[in-house]
Symmetry: C2
Subunit: 271 residues, 2 copies
């Protein structure tokens, strides 16, 4: 895949992004069959090898944040891409509506608690970004509170990056039409019905509110140290392929190294 | 006690403090017997009442950070002042040398995890300030790493303050002579010997290194949102008296309120 495609998926710092007219050149040229084959045969293996190096190196961690509207495919992404990773040193955490204990803390408390240790990978399925998006769309908090959080989040993520926790943030962009189709499918499908909540059913009616809230969030919180990527998510094969490529690129840029043995191995080998 | 004494104990933001020539006017005028009586009769009760209001109000938390050289009296402060608080909603945490799990995380990870919930008080006996002071004095990390932490800590504490966690930082200033006396006393006292560590014994030799490190830390990390107070700690009665006054002043400034009843109480009373 041409490197410039990953680059165009990345939201540039301090630049307003429009999600309504968003498009990325070059995507049309990606061939479905080839992408599926590459993912299966090369990318998954590549991710797994890089994770092993991350674990051995033990000086850095990787935090992958997944956000998106209802039915955008967050769970499905974890299932189909992230299972490339050895679960021994990779944890996927699904942040729910905060518990009473969590609500009695500052909003980054439960987040920081689950930040990965060095050598590890954490995948946050939803995250502290709910504390600027969900609280805004559902009017749970006044603007005066959530609007201050963009800067707090940028500083928190900057601190994590300065302490060797690399961050990738993936926004799964689903169209209103595709979201409606998936939710209707869940209503009809007895295997998927359980995933439905009352709030899911109201989602298509407030699609635009979510897109507006994400638009501002992505514009304000995409930084050099923790970039947001927009992932076109109507087609699952394209979504998976792009995410795998972004993860591989990030892990490669971390310059991971196998540490030197702690004792003189040759002595043992020669004896 | 005159309010201007508390003010002079506070390190002013962006001002270099000298711990070698440090003095605070007005301390000489405090009478020992009167201070001990006031602490016993009024201040302890006052602290306890304010804590109850903090708990009822449930919109803010109080974080008290205690730092100081070996034998400066941190444990003794917790025992003699902080036991004014109901332990139900007050937790004293003694941060030790980081465990392997803690070391594999960023240095604020274990700190954030124990930040108090709203309505609660936490007392940190040692804290993230070890990560700028101890690592420097004991040469555990290079300057390029710890020197970046001043700003990271200021931003972290600013975030906590913005999320209703009030912070008081108390530096117990002990003289080289008094530290030596106390350590020698511990060596001779079979009841206190257990507290001694090898690193304690080396402390008087590096007293100046600690004072230098604290001097820079207090100068760089005393902020409007998380002020450092210098507490003269050679005399325990004065130390306890001053700390109680600072805590009371801070709790009062938090404008705590008892919440309104959740239902119409009068209806029940009149029926």
């Amino acid at each position: 895949m041409p490197a410039n495609i990953i680059d165009s998926l990345q939201v540039k710092p301090n630049k307003e992004v429009s999600l309504y007219n968003w498009k990325c050149n070059g995507l049309k040229k990606i061939n479905k069959e080839e992408a599926e084959r590459t993912l299966e045969q090369d990318l998954i293996k590549n991710m797994s090898e890089l994770q092993y190096k991350l674990f051995a190196d033990k000086s850095q961690a990787l935090l992958i944040i997944l956000q998106g509207l209802s039915a955008a495919g967050k769970d499905s992404t974890v299932r189909s891409v992230m299972n490339a990773f050895n679960p021994q040193n990779c944890r996927a955490i699904s942040f729910k509506v905060p518990s009473e204990q969590e609500r009695s803390h500052d909003y980054l408390w439960r987040i920081h608690n689950l930040v990965p240790a060095k050598g590890d990978i954490a995948i946050f399925n939803r995250s502290h970004y709910e504390d600027v998006v969900e609280v805004r769309v559902r009017k749970l908090l006044p603007r005066s509170i959530w609007s201050k959080r963009y800067q707090q989040i940028n500083e928190f993520e900057n601190y994590l990056d300065s302490n060797n926790i690399r961050i990738i943030k993936l926004f799964l962009l689903i169209s209103k039409k595709e979201q409606k189709r998936r939710l209707e499918q869940r209503i009809r499908d007895p295997v998927k019905q359980w995933k439905l909540t009352e709030s899911d059913l109201s989602e298509p009616f407030i699609y635009d509110s979510y897109i507006n809230a994400y638009q501002e969030t992505l514009s304000k919180c995409s930084t050099d140290w923790a970039p947001w990527y927009i992932i076109p998510a109507d087609a699952k094969w394209l979504r998976n392929y792009l995410i795998a490529q972004i993860i591989i690129k990030t892990l490669k840029e971390m310059n991971l190294k196998f540490p030197k043995p702690k004792f003189d191995i040759l002595k043992f080998i020669n004896s």
